[in-house]
Protein backbone atom coordinates (compact mmCIF):
# COMPACT_ATOMS: atom_id res chain seq x y z
CA UNK A 1 0.00 0.00 0.00
CA UNK A 2 1.38 3.37 -0.96
CA UNK A 3 1.47 6.34 1.41
CA UNK A 4 -0.93 9.10 0.31
CA UNK A 5 0.63 12.40 -0.67
CA UNK A 6 0.11 15.34 1.66
CA UNK A 7 -2.52 17.72 0.29
CA UNK A 8 -3.00 21.05 2.05
CA UNK A 9 -6.56 21.72 3.31
CA UNK A 10 -6.78 24.82 1.11
CA UNK A 11 -5.87 22.81 -1.93
CA UNK A 12 -8.28 20.01 -0.99
CA UNK A 13 -11.22 22.43 -0.65
CA UNK A 14 -10.28 24.28 -3.81
CA UNK A 15 -10.21 20.97 -5.68
CA UNK A 16 -13.61 19.99 -4.35
CA UNK A 17 -15.08 23.37 -5.25
CA UNK A 18 -13.59 23.13 -8.73
CA UNK A 19 -15.03 19.64 -9.11
CA UNK A 20 -18.52 20.78 -8.07
CA UNK A 21 -18.42 23.91 -10.22
CA UNK A 22 -17.43 21.95 -13.29
CA UNK A 23 -20.26 19.52 -12.72
CA UNK A 24 -22.78 22.35 -12.40
CA UNK A 25 -21.40 24.14 -15.46
CA UNK A 26 -22.11 21.07 -17.59
CA UNK A 27 -25.84 21.50 -16.93
CA UNK A 28 -28.01 23.96 -18.81
CA UNK A 29 -28.77 27.26 -17.13
CA UNK A 30 -32.07 28.29 -15.70
CA UNK A 31 -33.59 31.56 -14.59
CA UNK A 32 -35.82 32.43 -11.64
CA UNK A 33 -37.26 35.92 -11.55
CA UNK A 34 -39.97 38.07 -10.05
CA UNK A 35 -42.84 39.43 -12.09
CA UNK A 36 -45.86 41.47 -11.05
CA UNK A 37 -48.00 38.53 -9.85
CA UNK A 38 -45.34 36.21 -8.55
CA UNK A 39 -42.18 34.35 -9.45
CA UNK A 40 -41.48 32.64 -12.76
CA UNK A 41 -39.06 29.73 -13.39
CA UNK A 42 -37.70 29.35 -16.91
CA UNK A 43 -35.17 26.81 -18.14
CA UNK A 44 -34.15 24.87 -21.20
CA UNK A 45 -35.04 21.25 -20.65
CA UNK A 46 -35.34 18.77 -23.50
CA UNK A 47 -36.96 16.21 -21.21
CA UNK A 48 -40.70 16.19 -20.55
CA UNK A 49 -40.42 13.79 -17.64
CA UNK A 50 -37.40 14.96 -15.64
CA UNK A 51 -38.16 18.35 -14.18
CA UNK A 52 -35.80 21.08 -13.08
CA UNK A 53 -38.54 22.96 -11.26
CA UNK A 54 -40.89 21.60 -8.72
CA UNK A 55 -43.41 22.45 -6.05
CA UNK A 56 -42.21 22.07 -2.48
CA UNK A 57 -45.14 23.56 -0.60
CA UNK A 58 -48.04 26.00 -0.90
CA UNK A 59 -45.94 29.06 -1.70
CA UNK A 60 -42.53 27.50 -2.16
CA UNK A 61 -40.90 26.38 -5.38
CA UNK A 62 -37.62 24.67 -6.12
CA UNK A 63 -35.22 24.95 -9.04
CA UNK A 64 -31.95 23.13 -9.56
CA UNK A 65 -29.06 22.94 -11.98
CA UNK A 66 -26.46 20.20 -12.03
CA UNK A 67 -26.59 16.49 -11.50
CA UNK A 68 -30.14 15.13 -11.71
CA UNK A 69 -29.97 12.31 -9.16
CA UNK A 70 -28.40 14.58 -6.56
CA UNK A 71 -30.84 17.45 -6.83
CA UNK A 72 -33.79 15.07 -7.16
CA UNK A 73 -32.73 13.59 -3.82
CA UNK A 74 -32.56 17.04 -2.26
CA UNK A 75 -35.92 17.96 -3.77
CA UNK A 76 -37.65 14.94 -2.24
CA UNK A 77 -35.90 15.65 1.05
CA UNK A 78 -37.28 19.17 0.88
CA UNK A 79 -40.82 17.97 0.17
CA UNK A 80 -40.58 15.59 3.13
CA UNK A 81 -39.18 18.33 5.37
CA UNK A 82 -41.94 20.77 4.37
CA UNK A 83 -44.78 18.27 4.66
CA UNK A 84 -43.58 17.01 8.03
CA UNK A 85 -43.25 20.54 9.35
CA UNK A 86 -46.67 21.54 8.05
CA UNK A 87 -48.19 18.41 9.57
CA UNK A 88 -46.58 18.93 12.97
CA UNK A 89 -47.27 22.66 13.22
CA UNK A 90 -49.30 24.49 10.62
CA UNK A 91 -49.10 25.13 6.90
CA UNK A 92 -48.09 28.73 7.57
CA UNK A 93 -45.03 27.60 9.49
CA UNK A 94 -43.32 26.22 6.42
CA UNK A 95 -41.06 28.94 5.04
CA UNK A 96 -38.51 29.23 2.26
CA UNK A 97 -35.98 30.62 4.75
CA UNK A 98 -36.27 27.51 6.93
CA UNK A 99 -35.97 25.23 3.93
CA UNK A 100 -33.02 27.16 2.52
CA UNK A 101 -31.25 26.81 5.86
CA UNK A 102 -31.72 23.06 5.93
CA UNK A 103 -30.47 22.78 2.35
CA UNK A 104 -27.46 24.96 3.15
CA UNK A 105 -26.58 22.81 6.15
CA UNK A 106 -26.97 19.65 4.11
CA UNK A 107 -24.90 20.89 1.17
CA UNK A 108 -22.30 22.42 3.52
CA UNK A 109 -21.85 19.24 5.54
CA UNK A 110 -21.50 17.12 2.42
CA UNK A 111 -19.10 19.61 0.86
CA UNK A 112 -16.77 19.74 3.82
CA UNK A 113 -16.81 16.09 4.81
CA UNK A 114 -13.82 14.43 3.20
CA UNK A 115 -15.53 11.07 2.98
CA UNK A 116 -18.31 12.28 0.71
CA UNK A 117 -18.24 13.43 -2.86
CA UNK A 118 -19.41 17.06 -3.05
CA UNK A 119 -22.83 17.51 -4.68
CA UNK A 120 -22.63 18.99 -8.16
CA UNK A 121 -25.78 21.06 -7.74
CA UNK A 122 -26.86 24.64 -7.37
CA UNK A 123 -30.35 25.21 -6.00
CA UNK A 124 -32.84 28.05 -5.94
CA UNK A 125 -35.59 28.11 -3.31
CA UNK A 126 -38.28 30.74 -3.88
CA UNK A 127 -41.33 31.75 -1.91
CA UNK A 128 -44.06 33.96 -3.27
CA UNK A 129 -45.45 36.53 -0.83
CA UNK A 130 -48.78 38.33 -0.62
CA UNK A 131 -47.11 41.30 -2.31
CA UNK A 132 -43.97 41.57 -4.49
CA UNK A 133 -42.11 42.92 -1.43
CA UNK A 134 -42.85 39.65 0.35
CA UNK A 135 -41.24 37.50 -2.36
CA UNK A 136 -38.09 35.66 -1.35
CA UNK A 137 -35.51 34.05 -3.60
CA UNK A 138 -32.52 32.16 -2.18
CA UNK A 139 -29.67 30.78 -4.23
CA UNK A 140 -27.77 27.87 -2.72
CA UNK A 141 -24.39 27.10 -4.27
CA UNK A 142 -22.71 23.69 -3.88
CA UNK A 143 -20.70 24.68 -0.78
CA UNK A 144 -23.59 25.39 1.59
CA UNK A 145 -23.69 29.18 1.45
CA UNK A 146 -26.96 31.08 0.97
CA UNK A 147 -27.35 34.10 -1.25
CA UNK A 148 -30.46 36.21 -0.82
CA UNK A 149 -31.40 37.32 -4.34
CA UNK A 150 -33.70 40.10 -5.53
CA UNK A 151 -35.38 40.51 -8.89
CA UNK A 152 -33.75 37.76 -10.88
CA UNK A 153 -31.22 34.98 -10.54
CA UNK A 154 -29.59 32.51 -12.93
CA UNK A 155 -27.82 29.26 -12.10
CA UNK A 156 -26.10 26.63 -14.19
CA UNK A 157 -23.48 26.61 -16.93
CA UNK A 158 -23.68 30.11 -18.28
CA UNK A 159 -25.00 31.73 -15.12
CA UNK A 160 -22.67 34.73 -14.83
CA UNK A 161 -23.31 36.07 -18.28
CA UNK A 162 -27.06 35.51 -18.01
CA UNK A 163 -27.18 37.17 -14.58
CA UNK A 164 -25.45 40.29 -15.78
CA UNK A 165 -27.81 40.48 -18.77
CA UNK A 166 -30.81 40.05 -16.47
CA UNK A 167 -29.50 42.64 -14.02
CA UNK A 168 -29.46 45.17 -16.83
CA UNK A 169 -32.84 44.26 -18.32
CA UNK A 170 -35.03 43.16 -15.44
CA UNK A 171 -37.32 45.66 -13.80
CA UNK A 172 -40.00 45.38 -11.14
CA UNK A 173 -43.64 44.88 -12.06
CA UNK A 174 -43.11 43.11 -15.40
CA UNK A 175 -46.04 41.12 -16.74
CA UNK A 176 -45.69 37.35 -16.99
CA UNK A 177 -45.29 37.51 -20.76
CA UNK A 178 -42.59 40.20 -20.52
CA UNK A 179 -40.70 38.32 -17.81
CA UNK A 180 -40.90 35.05 -19.72
CA UNK A 181 -39.72 36.68 -22.92
CA UNK A 182 -36.81 38.32 -21.14
CA UNK A 183 -35.82 35.01 -19.54
CA UNK A 184 -35.85 33.24 -22.90
CA UNK A 185 -33.74 36.03 -24.46
CA UNK A 186 -31.26 35.70 -21.61
CA UNK A 187 -31.08 31.92 -21.87
CA UNK A 188 -30.60 31.94 -25.62
CA UNK A 189 -27.40 34.01 -25.45
CA UNK A 190 -24.38 31.76 -25.83
CA UNK A 191 -21.03 32.23 -24.13
CA UNK A 192 -19.53 33.70 -27.29
CA UNK A 193 -22.29 36.32 -27.50
CA UNK A 194 -24.27 34.78 -30.36
CA UNK A 195 -27.97 34.05 -29.96
CA UNK A 196 -29.68 30.80 -30.76
CA UNK A 197 -33.32 29.89 -30.95
CA UNK A 198 -34.86 27.85 -28.11
CA UNK A 199 -38.11 26.29 -29.35
CA UNK A 200 -41.07 26.31 -26.95
CA UNK A 201 -41.03 22.48 -26.69
CA UNK A 202 -37.60 22.64 -25.11
CA UNK A 203 -38.63 25.17 -22.48
CA UNK A 204 -39.68 24.23 -19.00
CA UNK A 205 -41.73 27.01 -17.40
CA UNK A 206 -43.47 27.17 -14.03
CA UNK A 207 -44.85 29.96 -11.87
CA UNK A 208 -45.64 30.67 -8.27
CA UNK A 209 -48.69 32.81 -8.89
CA UNK A 210 -49.91 34.80 -5.89
CA UNK A 211 -53.27 35.49 -7.60
CA UNK A 212 -54.14 31.77 -7.82
CA UNK A 213 -57.22 31.17 -5.65
CA UNK A 214 -55.94 27.74 -4.54
CA UNK A 215 -53.76 27.30 -1.49
CA UNK A 216 -51.04 25.80 -3.68
CA UNK A 217 -49.59 28.56 -5.83
CA UNK A 218 -47.23 26.49 -7.97
CA UNK A 219 -48.30 25.85 -11.54
CA UNK A 220 -46.56 24.55 -14.64
CA UNK A 221 -47.09 26.49 -17.85
CA UNK A 222 -47.27 24.23 -20.86
CA UNK A 223 -48.64 23.87 -24.38
CA UNK A 224 -51.02 26.52 -25.65
CA UNK A 225 -50.65 28.83 -22.69
CA UNK A 226 -46.86 28.86 -23.04
CA UNK A 227 -47.08 29.53 -26.78
CA UNK A 228 -49.54 32.40 -26.20
CA UNK A 229 -47.32 33.98 -23.55
CA UNK A 230 -44.22 33.75 -25.75
CA UNK A 231 -46.18 35.27 -28.61
CA UNK A 232 -47.62 38.09 -26.49
CA UNK A 233 -44.15 38.85 -25.18
CA UNK A 234 -42.55 39.06 -28.62
CA UNK A 235 -45.22 41.31 -30.16
CA UNK A 236 -44.93 43.65 -27.20
CA UNK A 237 -41.15 43.86 -27.57
CA UNK A 238 -41.38 44.43 -31.29
CA UNK A 239 -43.82 47.26 -30.68
CA UNK A 240 -41.46 48.75 -28.10
CA UNK A 241 -38.40 48.53 -30.32
CA UNK A 242 -40.24 50.05 -33.30
CA UNK A 243 -41.13 53.02 -31.10
CA UNK A 244 -37.50 53.74 -30.48
Amino acid sequence: MSTPFYVSPQQAMADRAEYARKGIARGRSLVVMQYADGIVFVGENPSRALHKFSEIYDRIGFAAAGKYNEYENLRIGGVRYADLRGYTYDREDVTARGLANVYAQTLGTIFSSAGEKPYEVELVVAEVGETPEGDQIYRLPHDGSIVDEHGSVAVGGNAEQISSYLDREHRDGMSLAEALQLAVRALSRDTNGTEREIPAERLEVAVLDRTRPQQRKFKRIVGGQLARLLEAGSTATEAESSDE
Binding site: H51, I76, V102
Partner: protein, 281 residues
Protein backbone atom coordinates in the same frame (compact mmCIF):
# COMPACT_ATOMS: atom_id res chain seq x y z
CA UNK B 1 -39.43 19.43 15.37
CA UNK B 2 -35.93 19.96 14.19
CA UNK B 3 -35.17 18.23 10.96
CA UNK B 4 -32.08 16.83 12.57
CA UNK B 5 -31.60 15.35 15.96
CA UNK B 6 -27.82 15.43 15.86
CA UNK B 7 -27.65 19.21 15.80
CA UNK B 8 -25.79 19.87 12.56
CA UNK B 9 -29.00 21.11 10.93
CA UNK B 10 -28.44 18.75 8.03
CA UNK B 11 -31.36 16.75 6.64
CA UNK B 12 -31.21 13.32 8.29
CA UNK B 13 -30.59 10.28 6.13
CA UNK B 14 -34.26 9.26 6.17
CA UNK B 15 -35.15 12.46 4.27
CA UNK B 16 -32.69 11.76 1.48
CA UNK B 17 -33.27 8.04 1.12
CA UNK B 18 -34.88 7.34 -2.22
CA UNK B 19 -37.85 5.03 -2.05
CA UNK B 20 -41.43 5.45 -1.06
CA UNK B 21 -43.55 8.33 -2.32
CA UNK B 22 -45.88 7.88 0.63
CA UNK B 23 -45.81 10.38 3.46
CA UNK B 24 -47.17 7.77 5.86
CA UNK B 25 -44.34 5.38 5.00
CA UNK B 26 -41.89 8.19 5.61
CA UNK B 27 -43.49 8.97 8.99
CA UNK B 28 -43.46 5.28 9.92
CA UNK B 29 -39.73 5.22 9.32
CA UNK B 30 -38.72 8.61 10.65
CA UNK B 31 -41.24 9.51 13.37
CA UNK B 32 -43.58 6.58 13.95
CA UNK B 33 -45.06 8.23 17.04
CA UNK B 34 -46.76 10.81 14.81
CA UNK B 35 -48.83 8.17 13.00
CA UNK B 36 -52.32 7.97 14.50
CA UNK B 37 -52.32 4.15 14.24
CA UNK B 38 -49.27 3.81 16.48
CA UNK B 39 -50.87 5.45 19.46
CA UNK B 40 -51.25 3.28 22.55
CA UNK B 41 -54.56 3.79 24.31
CA UNK B 42 -54.59 3.18 28.05
CA UNK B 43 -57.21 0.59 29.07
CA UNK B 44 -60.47 2.42 29.76
CA UNK B 45 -63.68 1.57 31.54
CA UNK B 46 -66.70 2.02 29.33
CA UNK B 47 -66.90 4.33 26.35
CA UNK B 48 -64.96 7.59 25.98
CA UNK B 49 -67.27 10.57 25.47
CA UNK B 50 -66.17 12.64 22.49
CA UNK B 51 -68.02 14.63 19.85
CA UNK B 52 -69.38 12.49 17.00
CA UNK B 53 -70.16 13.67 13.52
CA UNK B 54 -73.27 12.25 11.95
CA UNK B 55 -74.63 12.05 8.42
CA UNK B 56 -72.79 12.20 5.08
CA UNK B 57 -74.45 11.54 1.72
CA UNK B 58 -73.17 11.26 -1.84
CA UNK B 59 -74.84 11.04 -5.26
CA UNK B 60 -73.35 10.59 -8.71
CA UNK B 61 -74.69 12.29 -11.80
CA UNK B 62 -73.51 12.14 -15.41
CA UNK B 63 -70.27 14.15 -15.36
CA UNK B 64 -69.53 14.12 -11.65
CA UNK B 65 -70.44 13.44 -8.07
CA UNK B 66 -71.91 15.42 -5.17
CA UNK B 67 -70.84 14.89 -1.56
CA UNK B 68 -72.65 16.63 1.30
CA UNK B 69 -72.91 16.55 5.06
CA UNK B 70 -75.02 18.03 7.83
CA UNK B 71 -73.44 20.36 10.39
CA UNK B 72 -74.17 18.70 13.72
CA UNK B 73 -71.77 17.01 16.16
CA UNK B 74 -73.25 15.25 19.18
CA UNK B 75 -71.82 13.96 22.44
CA UNK B 76 -74.29 11.55 23.97
CA UNK B 77 -77.59 13.42 24.00
CA UNK B 78 -75.92 16.84 23.88
CA UNK B 79 -75.34 18.82 20.68
CA UNK B 80 -71.60 19.39 20.87
CA UNK B 81 -71.31 21.66 17.84
CA UNK B 82 -73.86 23.16 15.46
CA UNK B 83 -71.60 24.23 12.64
CA UNK B 84 -69.01 21.49 12.36
CA UNK B 85 -67.58 20.84 8.90
CA UNK B 86 -67.36 17.20 7.94
CA UNK B 87 -66.79 17.33 4.20
CA UNK B 88 -63.31 18.18 2.98
CA UNK B 89 -61.52 18.29 -0.35
CA UNK B 90 -58.99 15.44 -0.45
CA UNK B 91 -57.29 16.87 -3.53
CA UNK B 92 -58.26 18.54 -6.79
CA UNK B 93 -60.51 15.64 -7.93
CA UNK B 94 -61.79 14.01 -4.77
CA UNK B 95 -63.44 14.75 -1.46
CA UNK B 96 -63.97 12.92 1.78
CA UNK B 97 -66.85 13.21 4.24
CA UNK B 98 -66.48 11.82 7.71
CA UNK B 99 -68.89 10.31 10.21
CA UNK B 100 -67.72 9.16 13.61
CA UNK B 101 -65.40 10.57 16.27
CA UNK B 102 -64.82 14.14 15.13
CA UNK B 103 -61.35 14.71 16.56
CA UNK B 104 -59.88 11.55 15.07
CA UNK B 105 -61.75 12.09 11.83
CA UNK B 106 -60.31 15.56 11.29
CA UNK B 107 -56.82 14.23 11.97
CA UNK B 108 -57.37 11.36 9.53
CA UNK B 109 -58.51 13.76 6.83
CA UNK B 110 -55.50 16.00 7.40
CA UNK B 111 -53.14 13.06 7.01
CA UNK B 112 -55.06 11.74 4.01
CA UNK B 113 -54.91 15.10 2.23
CA UNK B 114 -51.21 15.29 2.95
CA UNK B 115 -50.66 11.73 1.73
CA UNK B 116 -52.22 12.57 -1.64
CA UNK B 117 -50.44 15.90 -1.93
CA UNK B 118 -47.10 14.37 -0.98
CA UNK B 119 -47.42 11.64 -3.60
CA UNK B 120 -48.37 14.20 -6.22
CA UNK B 121 -45.37 16.40 -5.45
CA UNK B 122 -42.84 13.58 -5.27
CA UNK B 123 -44.06 11.65 -8.32
CA UNK B 124 -45.24 14.62 -10.36
CA UNK B 125 -48.52 12.77 -11.05
CA UNK B 126 -51.73 12.05 -9.20
CA UNK B 127 -52.68 8.69 -7.75
CA UNK B 128 -55.51 6.90 -9.53
CA UNK B 129 -58.91 7.24 -7.85
CA UNK B 130 -58.74 3.56 -6.83
CA UNK B 131 -55.30 4.18 -5.39
CA UNK B 132 -56.60 7.04 -3.28
CA UNK B 133 -59.55 4.93 -2.10
CA UNK B 134 -57.20 2.11 -1.09
CA UNK B 135 -54.97 4.50 0.80
CA UNK B 136 -57.97 5.64 2.85
CA UNK B 137 -58.79 1.99 3.57
CA UNK B 138 -55.37 1.50 5.13
CA UNK B 139 -55.84 4.54 7.31
CA UNK B 140 -59.21 3.38 8.62
CA UNK B 141 -57.78 -0.05 9.33
CA UNK B 142 -54.99 1.47 11.41
CA UNK B 143 -57.67 3.08 13.58
CA UNK B 144 -59.25 -0.29 14.41
CA UNK B 145 -57.93 -0.31 17.99
CA UNK B 146 -59.64 3.01 18.67
CA UNK B 147 -62.79 1.89 16.87
CA UNK B 148 -63.07 -1.07 19.25
CA UNK B 149 -63.11 1.40 22.14
CA UNK B 150 -66.00 3.26 20.55
CA UNK B 151 -63.95 5.85 18.66
CA UNK B 152 -64.73 4.76 15.12
CA UNK B 153 -64.23 6.87 12.02
CA UNK B 154 -66.29 5.91 8.97
CA UNK B 155 -65.77 8.07 5.90
CA UNK B 156 -67.40 8.31 2.53
CA UNK B 157 -65.01 8.99 -0.33
CA UNK B 158 -66.15 10.53 -3.60
CA UNK B 159 -64.16 11.58 -6.60
CA UNK B 160 -64.08 12.22 -10.29
CA UNK B 161 -62.24 9.46 -12.11
CA UNK B 162 -60.31 11.31 -14.80
CA UNK B 163 -59.47 8.11 -16.70
CA UNK B 164 -63.03 6.80 -16.81
CA UNK B 165 -64.57 10.31 -17.00
CA UNK B 166 -67.21 9.75 -14.33
CA UNK B 167 -67.95 10.37 -10.66
CA UNK B 168 -67.48 7.44 -8.26
CA UNK B 169 -68.35 6.83 -4.60
CA UNK B 170 -66.59 4.53 -2.14
CA UNK B 171 -67.99 3.62 1.26
CA UNK B 172 -66.11 1.99 4.13
CA UNK B 173 -66.72 -0.01 7.28
CA UNK B 174 -64.77 0.33 10.55
CA UNK B 175 -62.36 -2.44 9.56
CA UNK B 176 -61.33 -0.57 6.43
CA UNK B 177 -63.45 -2.69 4.11
CA UNK B 178 -64.09 -0.75 0.94
CA UNK B 179 -67.15 -0.94 -1.30
CA UNK B 180 -67.80 0.98 -4.46
CA UNK B 181 -71.37 2.28 -4.41
CA UNK B 182 -73.64 2.63 -7.41
CA UNK B 183 -75.48 5.90 -7.74
CA UNK B 184 -75.74 7.01 -4.15
CA UNK B 185 -74.48 6.25 -0.65
CA UNK B 186 -74.72 7.48 2.93
CA UNK B 187 -72.83 6.97 6.17
CA UNK B 188 -73.36 7.96 9.80
CA UNK B 189 -76.24 7.71 12.24
CA UNK B 190 -78.82 9.25 9.90
CA UNK B 191 -77.67 7.23 6.91
CA UNK B 192 -80.55 4.76 7.07
CA UNK B 193 -83.10 7.51 6.57
CA UNK B 194 -80.99 9.40 4.05
CA UNK B 195 -80.52 6.25 1.99
CA UNK B 196 -84.28 5.61 2.04
CA UNK B 197 -84.92 9.11 0.73
CA UNK B 198 -82.27 8.85 -1.98
CA UNK B 199 -83.53 5.44 -3.09
CA UNK B 200 -86.88 7.01 -3.97
CA UNK B 201 -85.50 10.18 -5.53
CA UNK B 202 -82.44 8.98 -7.42
CA UNK B 203 -82.44 8.71 -11.21
CA UNK B 204 -79.42 8.16 -13.40
CA UNK B 205 -80.00 11.27 -15.51
CA UNK B 206 -79.79 13.91 -12.80
CA UNK B 207 -78.29 17.28 -13.62
CA UNK B 208 -75.72 18.83 -11.30
CA UNK B 209 -78.41 21.11 -9.84
CA UNK B 210 -80.77 18.14 -9.33
CA UNK B 211 -78.03 16.20 -7.56
CA UNK B 212 -77.27 19.03 -5.15
CA UNK B 213 -80.99 19.36 -4.36
CA UNK B 214 -81.25 15.59 -3.88
CA UNK B 215 -78.49 15.44 -1.25
CA UNK B 216 -80.05 18.29 0.74
CA UNK B 217 -83.45 16.53 0.56
CA UNK B 218 -81.81 13.35 1.86
CA UNK B 219 -80.10 15.22 4.69
CA UNK B 220 -83.42 16.85 5.56
CA UNK B 221 -85.05 13.43 5.82
CA UNK B 222 -82.16 12.15 7.92
CA UNK B 223 -82.52 15.11 10.29
CA UNK B 224 -86.25 14.52 10.37
CA UNK B 225 -85.91 11.07 11.89
CA UNK B 226 -82.46 10.98 13.48
CA UNK B 227 -81.90 13.24 16.49
CA UNK B 228 -78.13 13.32 15.93
CA UNK B 229 -78.41 14.82 12.45
CA UNK B 230 -78.97 18.55 12.12
CA UNK B 231 -81.40 20.05 9.63
CA UNK B 232 -80.96 23.45 7.96
CA UNK B 233 -80.75 26.08 10.72
CA UNK B 234 -82.45 29.14 9.24
CA UNK B 235 -82.18 31.27 12.37
CA UNK B 236 -78.41 30.84 12.63
CA UNK B 237 -77.85 30.59 8.88
CA UNK B 238 -76.19 27.20 9.14
CA UNK B 239 -76.81 25.07 6.06
CA UNK B 240 -75.44 21.72 4.92
CA UNK B 241 -72.04 21.67 3.24
CA UNK B 242 -72.48 20.63 -0.38
CA UNK B 243 -69.50 19.91 -2.62
CA UNK B 244 -69.41 19.05 -6.32
CA UNK B 245 -66.58 17.28 -8.12
CA UNK B 246 -66.51 17.28 -11.91
CA UNK B 247 -63.98 17.37 -14.70
CA UNK B 248 -63.23 20.94 -13.57
CA UNK B 249 -62.22 19.74 -10.14
CA UNK B 250 -63.53 20.21 -6.63
CA UNK B 251 -65.97 22.99 -5.81
CA UNK B 252 -67.76 23.74 -2.58
CA UNK B 253 -71.09 25.49 -2.96
CA UNK B 254 -71.03 28.97 -1.47
CA UNK B 255 -73.18 29.70 1.55
CA UNK B 256 -75.62 31.59 -0.67
CA UNK B 257 -75.97 28.64 -3.02
CA UNK B 258 -76.55 26.04 -0.31
CA UNK B 259 -78.92 28.32 1.62
CA UNK B 260 -80.86 28.85 -1.60
CA UNK B 261 -81.32 25.08 -2.01
CA UNK B 262 -82.18 24.55 1.66
CA UNK B 263 -84.70 27.40 1.67
CA UNK B 264 -86.51 26.21 -1.44
CA UNK B 265 -86.77 22.73 0.09
CA UNK B 266 -88.04 24.20 3.37
CA UNK B 267 -90.67 26.17 1.49
CA UNK B 268 -92.03 23.08 -0.25
CA UNK B 269 -91.97 21.11 2.99
CA UNK B 270 -94.32 23.67 4.56
CA UNK B 271 -96.98 22.18 2.29
CA UNK B 272 -95.63 18.62 2.16
CA UNK B 273 -93.75 17.95 5.40
CA UNK B 274 -92.60 14.52 4.22
CA UNK B 275 -91.05 15.83 1.06
CA UNK B 276 -91.59 14.92 -2.59
CA UNK B 277 -93.71 11.86 -3.33
CA UNK B 278 -92.39 9.12 -5.57
CA UNK B 279 -94.73 7.25 -7.94
CA UNK B 280 -96.35 4.12 -6.53
CA UNK B 281 -95.68 1.93 -9.50
Amino acid sequence: MEANSRGTGRLPAAFLTPGSSSFMDFLAEHQPELLPGNRQLPPTQGVIEAPHGTTIVAVTFPGGVVLAGDRRATMGNVIAQRDIEKVFPADEYSAVGIAGTAGLAVEMVKLFQLELEHFEKVEGAQLSLEGKANRLSTMIRSNLGMAMQGLAVVPLFAGYDVDRAKGRIFSYDVTGGRTEERGFAATGSGSVFARGAMKKLYRDDLSEADATTLVVQALYDAADDDSATGGPDVARRIYPIVTVITEDGFRRLTEDESSEIARSILERRLEQPDGPRAALL
